[in-house]
Symmetry: C2
Subunit: 360 residues, 2 copies
Amino acid sequence: MLHAIVMAGGSGTRFWPASRAGLPKQLLPLAGEKSLLEDTVARLDGLVPPERTMIVTSARLLDAVRRQAPGVPEAGLVGEPCKRDTAPCIGLAALLVLRHDPDAMMAVMPSDHVIRPAAEFRRAIHEAAAMVAAAPGRLITFGVRPTYPAESFGYIQQGVPLAGGPTASQAHAVARFREKPPASVAAEYVAAGNYLWNAGIFVWRAATILAALDERQPECMAHLRRIAAAWDTPDREPVFAEEFAAIKGISIDYAVLEHATDVAVIEAPFGWDDLGGWSAVARQRGADEAGNTSVGRHLGIDSSGTIVHAADDHLVVTLGLTDILVVHTPDATLVATRAHEEAVRKVVAEIEKRGWKEYL
Amino acid sequence: MLHAIVMAGGSGTRFWPASRAGLPKQLLPLAGEKSLLEDTVARLDGLVPPERTMIVTSARLLDAVRRQAPGVPEAGLVGEPCKRDTAPCIGLAALLVLRHDPDAMMAVMPSDHVIRPAAEFRRAIHEAAAMVAAAPGRLITFGVRPTYPAESFGYIQQGVPLAGGPTASQAHAVARFREKPPASVAAEYVAAGNYLWNAGIFVWRAATILAALDERQPECMAHLRRIAAAWDTPDREPVFAEEFAAIKGISIDYAVLEHATDVAVIEAPFGWDDLGGWSAVARQRGADEAGNTSVGRHLGIDSSGTIVHAADDHLVVTLGLTDILVVHTPDATLVATRAHEEAVRKVVAEIEKRGWKEYL
């Protein structure tokens, strides 16, 4: 049976001040009316029932996640005591689903990407699951046709086409993975035509990924097995805290995928955006006639190319502005040129340095 | 005896959203820690006692004015039921002070200008009063040496020097008044060297200005005399409302000064700024090393020439901005290029058009 594992532990600074330590990107309604996590859970409707959906987040976000995913049973909510990247997250999820379903298949996905239309996503996951059912040892990743030489993504080189693959979605063996290349290399990849962005969406049997982790990350798995053993006992919390903290964080790509032999990549038949910043938000939301993208109450006069994100009923007026970003929240407002979108990290670093914790 | 008449009825839109219908410019701490009105009242300390100070404002601002000028007795607070420009305001004030002091001399001044240092202002008013004492029929205005060809000010052409004038402050007869000239004419005035900006500060005997108003504005004075007659009766409020509304608004310059024969202008020996917009605020407050002027909590990164005005503890971060204005208030925020400072009026007009009364 197919289980969905939604990875919702992300924390970032690119959407500050809209995103905060206690309200990261995935919990914000950046691309639409609902939060990215809410969209991710809704996208599973008809593919995986809530009782086979697991959301892995950080412990301090559990309450917020619970409120945004009321349909997911308590047993499906996992709050990591600390951040350890994707391999420990996926390993633990595999152990937990295997307790009750030895043949469990997993669809693993981030909670903070924009994927549309949902029906195409469901169809693609469904086809990937069928492919894994036919080749049980296979690890499937999803790749996205690159539209520009991004330096911030991982790339997957397509190898030979795989027989018996989905008809609509081309499946290939993976020739190799390449993490965040410099722009010149990324440009070569895009030009070559056989590289895809790694979308961070995976389909595999829980037993397969577990065996691979056992082989490549035995120490990590020893800790995870002790956590899983204590899961249904009163010791869950202290054991989880102690053992998880002792794990060395590593991504599933580095830990397993780059070393595994039977890895396939399916070119995503759905639209995908990792929503890396405010310009991506504007791209997803579209702009009005003047080229302005607004969330909340925005009055733009002689303004174009602005992105305004305002909380509550606060009125933001832009006058004579071009390509300016305004993010208003009840206690902090950011005004930046869109060209400085990436430098929002500097702002957060400066606020940390000044000890203004109330704004983090 | 010298009485101070502080004209505090102004309403404007240039400082929106910091200024609102119920909180106009003169009630805001734009140039320092205290509001412009508070500064104006404090500036009188040592020149005129509070019991001879009268603040004329609009009725709906009375409560706010009372809070900002707690030292001024209730009898010194006048709330006009509607706006009728400066001549009716000054005429009424003259009638009211004459009730108890037939020889009253008046120093009339706006409440929303920046005047520094206060001691120089007091000295100049004192000298002007001495000049009026020596020439009881004289009307004295203060002029400011122009620093650029402003189109938004009135100009006063200096005539012959007046004998017996103050030693430190040059006094001249007024050759003529000229309201808001076009830029080319203003440039000629500045180049000519004998034109001063009209600072809107006057010293004269109450009886003199009253006689002039009686001659030039008999209808207005008839209404004002009915108001003054009812002032100490239970009918004050309805009579004030009815009679004042019936007056045709006109400035004291148009009504009297342009026609009077014995008008002198004293070149102000104090610094003066009518604080016509945010750039004037920045000029008064000065800038930090990066050229940013901040009121409230502002973190500027890679920003220069910004003006940030934030209420409460709200944090405003500017990133990568040059010459941008950010005005934050609890319910509305304006972000504009400084070049669009004058166009803030357009914003307020648009908000009025949309019927968003809560932001006016």
